[in-house]
Amino acid sequence: MSPEAAALAPALVSLRGLSKSYAGVRALKGVDLDLRRGEIHALCGENGAGKSTLIQMLGGAARPDSGTIEVHGQAVRFASPAAALARGIAVIHQELALVDELTVAENLALGDEPRFGPWIRRRAMVQSARRKLDELGFAIAPRARLGSLPIGARQQVEIARALRRDVQVLVLDEPTAALSRAEAERLFEVLRDLRTRGIAVLYVSHHLDEVFALADRITVLRDGSKVGSWPASETTLSEVVAHMVGEAVDVRDRPARRATGDARLKVSGLSGGSLRGLDLEVAPGEVVGLTGLAGAGHEELSSILFGAMRPTAGEVVWDGEPFRPKHPAEAARRGVAMVPADRRGLGLIPSQGVLENLTLASYADLARRGWLRRRAQKAMAREWCARFEVASSGLSQKVLTLSGGNQQKVLLARWAARNPELFILNEPTRGIDVKTREAIHRWIDGLAEAGRCVLLITSDAQEMARLADRCVVLRGGKVARVLEPPAITEHAVVAAVVEG
């Protein structure tokens, strides 16, 4: 089907006025979207623009607060992803939903195996897998163990699995994040092939170059609202960036900071994880921002600097001395603090209360000969709860029952109480309400004014523009671009990240 014909075709799936709030924050505000037969439709937007929320509702993983989803003009309500799949909508997430220990054929048949009584008809299962893979042009052996395949092939298996039902809409969330260039090209061929079969593809990606290589239409979301939809041929990459960022306040609303003195943290040629020879310097009183697309390496830097992961090469000098902590405890002793992005998984102790969670990193300071001084511990917790304005019912409140913003404040206070010299902050305001976000930003300003070194790792371009004195953009584990004021605008940061 030609793109022109596709544009005239009636919508397979229509979203009308879709809205959704999480904990009072409106993640999606009345979004309309049409998916037509035989089109590749790209969905673009910054982090937090509402893409994931939209996919979740389309795929049946979440229910809209208001608005409707229509399939073939008929309003539907999805109680579960299985219900969405039954109506022909399949979602392929970044994290594949396959079992590594099973073979390709077993994965394809999982939950719907050809049976003879209680037994699986293995030959029929393998044959049907082979048929499906051949039909899609995937060169994968049905008997291969899934875990032994490269990631691109595993993703093809997931696509084949999604298409074993009568799927009309295929949603892919950041499908190329973990793929090599060649694997990504292969995926694009597959998607173009699916387009000719009349399947509607909703393609969610940060990689705008891919979007323009692939998509027929582009829809941009910003702050939960739809900015617009355009045929890919009638818009340009820089226009899309502009739509994503919006009427950004491209003036920095704070005076420029001057870093005082020489760099205190010097990273040279650092490799490990996805880092491939990173160079970086941070001076006292300076906020250095670090960003990039998923997998660019900025996520791993903090683990390496903090002694949670070993580098394979390179050198770090902190405070004039070589810095190679064997474990986080040593990094903490040297005056380094690290707040991870995954608050629940890597930050908080869910079984404990505000008191323990806030003071956890300071037990040694609060103890006399190994005995924890309860009064001092409580005093510290109270003082820092007050300073960070943590809203809790008391120090014994279980930490997970706090709001996300207050959880984050507890984590920041845990380290602030130690008064470290270098703060490594990962996504410090992700998923946090506006008021708390501003409070945290002011606190980070305060750190810089007090002469601390701050390494801010964030995928939030607005936050970067607000805070960073230098913005380092990574790509493929190396520094791709460095922006300095006044060039650190939201627009420039987004453009640097997506264009490379």
Partner: protein, 315 residues
């Protein structure tokens, strides 16, 4: 869920513990006498000491199946040493050191090699038990008298209180304070609550986890001393299954198998309750055969209550 109900459900294990204890006490007149209570304390003491060690491991997010085997191997070692003519003080030191060492082996594998705690201690259960067999060449050593001094007690009013019971009670109190009040203890709770978060907060998790297992070994050594003092026989099949009793005591006492929650006093109370239940069954004239059955039922009830309590917490 309305708030009062949530509070009740959230404390379900503790409420069950208290109600269970009261029910047992009031069930028979003879039960609620100093003599009976003191004898329950005595009978619970050996598994009770193991339960204390188990509580450290469980709260730290681990699991120790090798306690009974460690106890047997320590007992066998002491049996041999006493044959060599070691004096009681040296034997005591040897028993505790041996326990600590055996526990450290578990700790080393779980935290440094990172083998699964279940598999690790299942293997060491067999290894330690087998080592006890080899050491004793299959023959028990009777008449081990080095610890016989422990097998006595004193009069307190009408009741006779055994030193074994005292050791258990004092150990429970001391370790309870250690766990609640020291940096080490609070780190154990953090470790069991979220090991990776604790590590990233600067807790030396590898060292700490090794210590929890080492303490379980130390508890096994102490239990071996109490058992030897009482039975005066070193046998390789001694204390078989005690590790399950100690885990059961912890579960009944509200120590979470997922780690991060519970207390030593809870574990001790659980141990006493299970022992009281057994005594009760015997005293009320039920056949012995019911004991195992009822014990299992009680443990499952407490595990279910704990699961329900947690569900309330998340809501």
């Amino acid at each position: 869920m309305p708030r009062p109900l949530r509070t009740v459900v959230g404390r379900l294990p503790q409420i069950l513990l208290i109600v269970g204890a009261l029910a047992l006490m009031l069930r028979t007149e003879r039960f609620f006498t100093p003599g009976t209570l003191s004898s329950i304390l005595t009978q619970a003491s050996i598994v009770g000491v193991l339960a204390i060690g188990q509580a450290f491991v469980l709260i730290g997010g681990g699991f120790d199946l090798s306690q009974g085997a460690m106890l047997a191997l320590v007992a066998a070692t002491v049996g041999r040493l006493s044959q060599e003519g070691w004096n009681p003080a040296l034997c005591l030191a040897a028993a505790l050191t041996a326990g600590l060492l055996l526990g450290s082996i578990n700790g080393f594998f779980v935290s440094v090699v990172r083998t699964n705690p279940f598999v690790t201690t299942l293997s060491t259960l067999l290894i330690f038990r087998g080592a006890a067999f080899i050491m004793l060449e299959g023959r028990p050593i009777p008449g081990v008298k080095v610890f016989q001094a422990v097998d006595s007690g004193f009069k307190l009013g009408d009741a006779f209180v055994s030193y074994r019971g005292v050791v258990f009670a004092v150990a429970a109190l001391l370790t309870w304070i250690v766990l609640r009040r020291t940096v080490f203890g609070q780190h154990v709770y953090a470790l069991g609550g979220n090991a990776e978060a604790a590590r990233l907060a600067g807790v030396r998790t590898v060292r700490l986890r090794t210590w929890t297992f080492a303490l379980s070994g130390l508890a096994s050594g102490l239990a071996a001393i109490l058992l030897l003092g009482w039975l005066r026989v070193a046998k390789s099949d001694t204390a078989t299954g005690y590790e399950l009793d100690s885990i059961a005591a912890c579960v009944v006492g509200g120590v979470s198998l997922q780690g991060g929650r519970g207390s030593v006093l809870g574990a001790a109370a659980g141990c006493l309750l299970l022992q009281a239940l057994r005594t009760q069954i015997t005293m009320s004239g039920f056949p012995e055969e019911y004991r195992t059955f009822v014990t299992g039922l009680v443990i499952l009830t407490f595990a279910a209550a704990d699961a329900l309590a947690r569900r309330g917490e998340r809501a």
